[in-house]
Symmetry: C2
Amino acid sequence: MSEVHMARRSRLRERPTVSGAGGGTALLVSTPANLRYLTGCAPPGAVLLLDPDGHDTLLTRSDPVPPPGLADGSDALRVRSAAPPAQDPVTTAGEIAARGRAGTLAVEEHHLTVARHRALAAAAPRLRLSDLGPAVEQQRLVKDEEEIAALRIAAEITDQALGELLESILVGRTERHLALELERRLIDHGADGPAFPTCVATGRHSGLADHVPTDRRVEEGDFLTVRLGASYRGYRCRIGRTFVIGTAPADWQIQLYDLVFAAQRAAREALAPGVPFREVDRAARQLLDSAGYAEALGPAVGGGIGLEIGEDPVLSPQGVGKLDACVPVTVEPGVHLPGRGGVRIDDTLVVRSQSDGGPELLTITTKELLAL
Amino acid sequence: MSEVHMARRSRLRERPTVSGAGGGTALLVSTPANLRYLTGCAPPGAVLLLDPDGHDTLLTRSDPVPPPGLADGSDALRVRSAAPPAQDPVTTAGEIAARGRAGTLAVEEHHLTVARHRALAAAAPRLRLSDLGPAVEQQRLVKDEEEIAALRIAAEITDQALGELLESILVGRTERHLALELERRLIDHGADGPAFPTCVATGRHSGLADHVPTDRRVEEGDFLTVRLGASYRGYRCRIGRTFVIGTAPADWQIQLYDLVFAAQRAAREALAPGVPFREVDRAARQLLDSAGYAEALGPAVGGGIGLEIGEDPVLSPQGVGKLDACVPVTVEPGVHLPGRGGVRIDDTLVVRSQSDGGPELLTITTKELLAL
């Protein structure tokens, strides 16, 4: 994998916002997901220094043992630990940059704390500090085939874990217990871990976006909303499904389900290269609005997904920009009726052109309203 | 619990470093563990504003639903969501503070990013921004009985989970599988979750501090090092034990175990109010040094534990300060011999005076060298 990461570092250097900063600018990357994208690993507190003469150095907190995931024996990336014990890798990076040809060091101001930034300025007083901004995040937006392959496996694992749960007896079990079992199944099938805390919501909790599982037990007649995702090699996906418990759903359940399903499908079908982010949101939102659930959707119908849950782009009415091919996104509308419950349906998809077959659905568990 | 949190907020206002800043200083707390300590909850991105006229406001990202764990109906703490969608609670807090009597806003520079700090300054240009520093962390150092009670339960859960593992068959199972099983047992016994990623290290991995579990299987003759901890109501503990697999340990295993055990005991016995942090470290370090393992111990023999793993104090040769009563700490020495394996023994204890019976051991699983 080290060639992949080396190529990503080269592409970062060549980005117009980065190369336009001038020849004497070194880059300091500290955001963990960005570090992982550029090196394959993200030890706690570590930073990556890309200096103007092409040397890349990963600075770790203390341990001199190369972190797992890092290519051994490659001289494309040096690994050093921060000198004397407990010194911050950020300040060590500043000292190294100041000794080299760099006049300016561009840092991730959206991640670096005020205190670390101040210590960096003190450690390298001759360096001018500038803002790298979200340059690495922007580069991460369009995924390469290696990344999409990891997402596909994450989605497969997630579908497997959910599928097994659906075959088991659910009535009488608690939300908490079901969430735990799903997470165990994710790991059994090869996930690094859950991509985010698994959400199991029954009865009047159903349809809530970020419900924390309780000791409430599944009952006949309940809606049951499940949201989960595997993380595989750092790549995360999300699926959300809502089921009814018992033999036949009530009329209000069928109506609400059909509405959310229609909104979710409309947003999925809107996904194509060149489509404005807000159009995807609007496709779902106008359906929910016209059915009288204007407030139900929350700030966005979905968003980017990859090394993080909730990356760019944000598919919201305020979203500025247009979709590109090979951008994985979630589409996750829901309606919750206070005191009664509700429906959420979430998928992870990759934006593809019509000639490539249209949006690629990664999370393939059925979206029929199953009665379990 | 709301009275407890209100009292903590009052004590924060009365701290000399805080009250000495003058009457017109509002405080902005953003570090999640500090937020949880002062309010009982820490929604992602939320901040707490304590203004000079005694009003406390928790600002959350968007959702107007009161976060779980927060007292309902109490007017001691107002809850507001950041105005317009996606606005940062930090800037909303700055706007509120600027409208009040505050001339200065003290922020946590060790947590706030450069970008958020800049946005705050822009949102409230008339406010002077100063550094609150680690005032809340310092207040968190000595735990109250409610906190120690939560730690005791966390330790009980941890001992139970470990005890059950020891009764099962271990040979042939992978590190990864054992780590998963331990985490499941923690949650089965009532933990919120693991306090940190569970570490299971066999054979040549044994004795490593932060080994990531692999697919290596437990074999006869192995050392097996297990490090785990429950989080209970946010309070975390840590236990570490090393066992041998099979009927009888080899001589080198007995010798190494006895040495680490002696070092660990020496550090535990050094724990008392008034003892310098570095003395606790020295007690263990000198024993390991004189046996020829000067480099084995790493930067510190242990440290504070509570809402976070690795809080203050740091029990290291560089540690400046002395222990207080009611400070929970870990004592966690280890020796790892590259290619062969090693031993770690970790406990969580609360510092108590001799008249109170000396250090209170929370993690009570035996430290005999068990052959499993």
